[in-house]
C-alpha cells in the first residue's frame, strides 16, 4: 500500500513542472491564438540557464535565486522572440505560426548543444530539500513534497493574477475579443508581449525546477512538449484549471502506467486522451469553439488540371530524369533515389495539408511505419521484396487509420498538436519495444533483391513509383472525392449542408496520405538497408513540412519541386555542417516570414501577373491577396 502512495506522490511531483509549462502554453494561446511550439525549447533553456547559475552561485540563495533568475532571463529571451518574430506573423495563417515556432525549437536545440555541449548535465540538489522522508519504509524525496505544494500555489497565484488585477482583466477580455480591447484604448502589442513573457516565464520555471530531479539534456524539449500537448488536449486549451487537472492526470497515468506496461507506458496516456477526445473534443475544461476561422490563403488561384502541353512537359522532365543512370555515377543515383522517395513522402503530406487542409506535424510516423513494416516482413517473415513493398505500407495505412480517426475529430492547432503527439508515441514504441523493433539499434540488413539491387535499377524503381504516386494523387485531387475534400477544407458547414460527411472524407484522406507515406518509407528501408526509430522522428516530419512549404502550400504539385530542391540542399548541407538543425530552423523561419508562397507559388504569381498585364480582362478578385480573416 505504502508503495502505491509513494508512486502517487511521485506522480504529483512530476505534475508540477508539467502544469507550469502547460499553463504557460494555454495563457499564450488564449490571447495570441498562437500555439507556441517553441514552448518546450523555453522549458529546456530554463533548465540549462538554471544549471549554469546554480553551479556558479553557491548556497541556498544562489540556488533559489538562480532558479528564479533563470526563468526571468529566459522570459526576456521570449520577449525578444515575440517582438522580432511573432509580431510579424500574428496575422499569418495558423500553419505558418506553428512552423515558425517549430523552426525556433530546432534552432534552440543546436544552440544548446553549442553552448552547453551534448552530454547530460546533472544539477545540484536543492538546499533544504536534500533528504527523503520515510513513509512506512518507503522513501519520499523531500524535494518532491516541495513540488507537490508548489503546483497548487502557482495555480492560486495565477488565479489571483487573472481575477484580481487590471492586467488579468485585460488579458481575459483580450482572450475573448482582441480588437474590442484595442478599440477601448488598450495597446495590444504590449499586452501580447507581457502575456508571452509570462507564459515563457512559467515554462522556464518548470524547466529550472526539474534540475534537482532530472539530468538536463538537449532532448528534453520535445519530450516535454509532447506531454504538454497531451495535457492541453485533455484539459482544454486556454483553461488553467484544465491544465492543472490534466497535468495531474497525465503524470499519475505515467507513474502507474509504468507498473502495468513497463515497456510502453505511454499507451495508457494515449488511451485516456482518445477517450477524452471522443467524449469532449474540446477537452475537460475547455469550451467548444465556434467553427474555427478559416485561415485565409495567400493567393486564390483556382486549381486546374494540367493542359496537354504541360502534361507533355512533365513527361519530358520524367524522361530526362530517367536518363540519369546513363550520365551519373553510383553516388548520384543513390542521391537521386533518395530524392525520388522524398518526393513521394512530400506529395503525400501535401495531399493531406493543402488539399485536405489538415496540417500534420507527425507525418513521419506513417513513413516510419511503412519502413518498419517492410523490415519486419523481410526479416521475420522472410517475404520476397515485391510482397514486402506491397504489404509493408499497410502498416502505415493501419497507423493512419487508427490515429487519423481521432485526429480528424479536431482541426487547426489541435490537429497539429495531436498528430505530433501520435508520432512521438509511435516513435517511443519503436524506441522502447526493443524485443520487436531492436530499439535504438534498429533493424539491419534489409537489402533489395538482385533485380533491384544495382543503383540504377533501384533508381528507376523509385522514380517510377514516385511518378505513379504523383499522378494518382493528382487524379484524386480532381476527382469527385477531391472536390468533396476541398469543399470540406474551405467550408465545413456548407459542405455538410450539401450532404458531405466531412469527417469521413478527411479520415479517408488521412489514410490515403498515410499509406502513400508508408510506401515512401518502404522504399527508404530498402535504399538504406536498415530502419531506425529516427525514420519516424520529429525532424523527418518537419522536413516534409518544409518541403511542402518550400514548394508552395497552395499549389497543386509544388511539393514535388519543394522535395527535390530541399532534399538536394539538405544532403549537401549535412555534408558541410554539424549545425544542420540550426540552419534548417533558421531556414523555416525565413521562409515563413519572407517567402510564404514557396517556389511554385511565387512562380505562379509571377506568371499570372505577366499574363494579366498582357490581357487585362482577368478578374482582380482571383489574384488579390486576402487581407483579413474576418
Amino acid at each position: 500500500m505504502a508503495f502505491y502512495v509513494v508512486q502517487f506522490l511521485t506522480g504529483l511531483a512530476s505534475a508540477a513542472s508539467l502544469f507550469l509549462v502547460a499553463s504557460g502554453l494555454s495563457i499564450i494561446f488564449g490571447v495570441t491564438r498562437i500555439v507556441n511550439f517553441a514552448h518546450g525549447a523555453f522549458y529546456m533553456l530554463g533548465a540549462y540557464v538554471a544549471f549554469t547559475l546554480t553551479e556558479r552561485f553557491s548556497g541556498a540563495f544562489g540556488f533559489w535565486g538562480g532558479i528564479v533568475v533563470a526563468a526571468l532571463v529566459v522570459a526576456a529571451i521570449g520577449v525578444l522572440v515575440e517582438m522580432v518574430l511573432l509580431r510579424r506573423i500574428y496575422h499569418s495563417p495558423e500553419l505558418f505560426q506553428l512552423l515558425a515556432t517549430f523552426g525556433l525549437t530546432l534552432m534552440v536545440e543546436d544552440l544548446v548543444v553549442l553552448i552547453w555541449g551534448p552530454d547530460d548535465l546533472v544539477g545540484r540538489r536543492a538546499p533544504g530539500f536534500k533528504g527523503a522522508i520515510d513513509f512506512f519504509g518507503q522513501n519520499i524525496p523531500s524535494y518532491d513534497l516541495f513540488l507537490i505544494v508548489l503546483g497548487p500555489v502557482v495555480l492560486g497565484v495565477l488565479w489571483l493574477l487573472f481575477q484580481r488585477t487590471r492586467w488579468g482583466v485585460l488579458v481575459r477580455a483580450a482572450t475573448q475579443d482582441r480588437d474590442m480591447v484595442a478599440a477601448l484604448g488598450v495597446n495590444q502589442k504590449w499586452l501580447f508581449t507581457s502575456v508571452f513573457a509570462l507564459g515563457v516565464f512559467l515554462a522556464a520555471l518548470g524547466g529550472a525546477l526539474q534540475i534537482p530531479r532530472d539530468a538536463v539534456n538537449h532532448a528534453m524539449d520535445l519530450r516535454v512538449i509532447v506531454e504538454v500537448f497531451v495535457v492541453v488536449v485533455i484539459g482544454g486549451l486556454g483553461s488553467i484549471i484544465g491544465a492543472f487537472v490534466a497535468a495531474v492526470l497525465v503524470s499519475e497515468l505515467n507513474a502507474f502506467g509504468i507498473l502495468i506496461f513497463p515497456k510502453i507506458s505511454i499507451i495508457l496516456v494515449f488511451l485516456v486522451m482518445a477517450v477524452v477526445l471522443i467524449v469532449r473534443p474540446w477537452g475537460l475544461f475547455g469550451k467548444p469553439e465556434a467553427p474555427a476561422r478559416r485561415t485565409p490563403g495567400l493567393t486564390v488561384n483556382p486549381w486546374r488540371p494540367l493542359t496537354t502541353n504541360e502534361r507533355l512537359a512533365a513527361i519530358a522532365v520524367l524522361v530526362v530524369a530517367a536518363a540519369l543512370p546513363f550520365v551519373g555515377g553510383n553516388y548520384l543515383l543513390t542521391v537521386g533515389s533518395e530524392i525520388a522517395i522524398f518526393v513521394i513522402f512530400a506529395v503525400s503530406l501535401h495531399f493531406l495539408m493543402s488539399v485536405g487542409g489538415l496540417a500534420s506535424f507527425g507525418h513521419a510516423a506513417y513513413f516510419g511505419l511503412g519502413a518498419y513494416g517492410v523490415a519486419l516482413l523481410a526479416k521475420m517473415a522472410g517475404l520476397p521484396m515485391i510482397a514486402c513493398l506491397l504489404l509493408g505500407p499497410l502498416l502505415g495505412l493501419l497507423g493512419a487509420a487508427v490515429f487519423g480517426f481521432f485526429a480528424v475529430q479536431l482541426s487547426g492547432v489541435y490537429f497539429a498538436m495531436l498528430t505530433l503527439a501520435f508520432a512521438q508515441i509511435v516513435w517511443s514504441i519503436a524506441f522502447q519495444w526493443v524485443s520487436v523493433t531492436g530499439g535504438d539499434n534498429g533493424i539491419l540488413g534489409v537489402w533489395p533483391e538482385k533485380w533491384a539491387a544495382s543503383p540504377s535499377h533501384f533508381y528507376w524503381l523509385s522514380l517510377g513509383v514516385a511518378a505513379l504516386a504523383v499522378v494518382i494523387l493528382r487524379i484524386i485531387v480532381f476527382s469527385p472525392f477531391g472536390f468533396a475534400l476541398r469543399a470540406t477544407r474551405d467550408s465545413p458547414l456548407r459542405s455538410e449542408a450539401v450532404g458531405i460527411n466531412g469527417k469521413r472524407i478527411q479520415w479517408t484522406a488521412f489514410v490515403i496520405a498515410g499509406t502513400v507515406a508508408g510506401l515512401a518509407g518502404a522504399l527508404f528501408a530498402y535504399l538504406k538497408g536498415s530502419v531506425f526509430p529516427d525514420n519516424m522522428g520529429i525532424s523527418l516530419s518537419v522536413d516534409a513540412l518544409v518541403m511542402v512549404l518550400l514548394g508552395g502550400v497552395e499549389t497543386v504539385s509544388g511539393a514535388v519541386v519543394g522535395a527535390i530542391v530541399y532534399k538536394a540542399l539538405n544532403i549537401w548541407l549535412v555534408s558541410q555542417t554539424d549545425l544542420s538543425k540550426l540552419v534548417l530552423g533558421g531556414f523555416v523561419v525565413l521562409i515563413v516570414v519572407a517567402f510564404p508562397k514557396g517556389i511554385v507559388g511565387t512562380l505562379e504569381a509571377f506568371m499570372h501577373r505577366r499574363r494579366k498585364s498582357s490581357s487585362s480582362a482577368s478578374s482582380p478578385l482571383l489574384t488579390s491577396r486576402i487581407e483579413s480573416a474576418e
Binding site: 477580455a173 477601448l184 486576402i626
Partner: protein, 234 residues
C-alpha cells in the same frame, strides 16, 4: 471643429466601400449618420478609429491628424467608439467590463467613473457582479456605452444604439444620450431610425452606397422629404 473627416476612402480586400466621405462635428454637438443597412455607416466609424486596415484620407480630431495612428492611440486621445454588435466581454462581469474601458482622466473632457455611470444606467448598478453573457440585449447595449465612457472620451461614435431594442429601452437610451450631451460629450450616432435620430440630434448626414449625399440640420432634412424618401424609407 471637434472632428473633421476628409476624403475618406475604405476598402475590404479589392472592394471599394467608402468614397470620399466628409464629415464635421462641432464641440458638444450630436450628429446623426443616417442610412440603410449596408450603406457604409459602420465602415465609416471603423475607418475613423483605424479598424479598417485599407483606407486613405484624413481624420482630424481636436485639431490633430489621427489618420496614421493605431486604434488604441486614437481611442486614448479621447475618441470613443461603441461598436454595433455590442461586443461586450461575456465572460467578464459588469464591473470588469467597465474596468477594461477605464482610462486616465483627461483635461477638458467630461470625467466618468463607475458610480456616476451606475447613476446614468441604474440597471447596471443592480448587476455589478453579473457576467456580461447573462444580460439582456438592452442591458448589454447600456454596458457597451458605459464601458466606452469609462475612457473619458470627449467624442463618442455610437453605432446603431437603438438596434433591436424594445421601445421602453429605446426611451432610456434617448435619455442617456441626452445626459451624455449635457455632460459635454460630442456624439456621432449612426441610425436607420429617423424618429430616434430626431429626438437626439442637432444635425444629420445621409450616407448611401458609401457616399455622403446629404448634410444639414434636422430642420433642413425635414424640409426635403424627397431626400428622406429616396435614401431612408424602406
Amino acid at each position: 471643429m471637434k472632428l473633421t473627416v476628409k476624403d475618406l476612402n475604405s476598402f475590404y480586400g479589392p472592394a471599394h466601400i467608402l468614397f470620399d466621405i466628409a464629415l464635421e462635428v462641432g464641440e458638444g454637438e450630436v450628429v446623426a449618420l443616417l442610412g440603410r443597412n449596408g450603406a457604409g455607416k459602420s465602415t465609416t466609424f471603423r475607418s475613423i478609429v483605424g479598424l479598417v486596415e485599407n483606407r486613405s484620407g484624413r481624420v482630424m480630431f481636436e485639431g490633430r491628424d489621427v489618420s496614421e495612428l493605431p486604434t488604441h492611440a486614437i481611442v486614448r486621445g479621447g475618441l470613443g467608439y461603441v461598436p454595433e454588435e455590442r461586443r461586450i466581454f461575456t465572460d467578464l462581469t459588469v464591473e470588469e467590463n467597465l474596468e477594461v474601458g477605464r482610462q486616465p482622466k483627461r483635461a477638458g473632457a467630461p470625467q466618468w467613473d463607475r458610480e456616476k455611470l451606475f447613476k446614468l444606467f441604474p440597471n447596471l448598478g443592480e448587476m455589478r457582479g453579473r457576467p456580461g453573457g447573462r444580460m439582456s440585449g438592452g442591458e448589454q447595449q447600456m454596458l457597451t456605452i458605459a464601458r466606452t465612457l469609462m475612457g473619458n472620451p470627449s467624442l463618442v461614435l455610437l453605432d446603431e444604439p437603438s438596434e433591436g431594442l424594445s421601445p421602453k429601452i429605446v426611451e432610456q437610451m434617448v435619455d442617456a444620450i441626452l445626459a451624455m450631451k449635457k455632460e459635454g460629450v460630442s456624439i456621432v450616432v449612426s441610425e436607420q431610425n429617423l424618429h430616434f435620430a430626431r429626438l437626439i440630434s442637432d444635425r444629420a448626414y445621409i450616407i448611401e452606397r458609401g457616399r455622403i449625399c446629404f448634410g444639414g440640420t434636422m430642420a433642413e432634412l425635414d424640409a426635403r422629404p424627397d431626400i428622406r424618401d429616396a435614401h431612408l424609407s424602406l
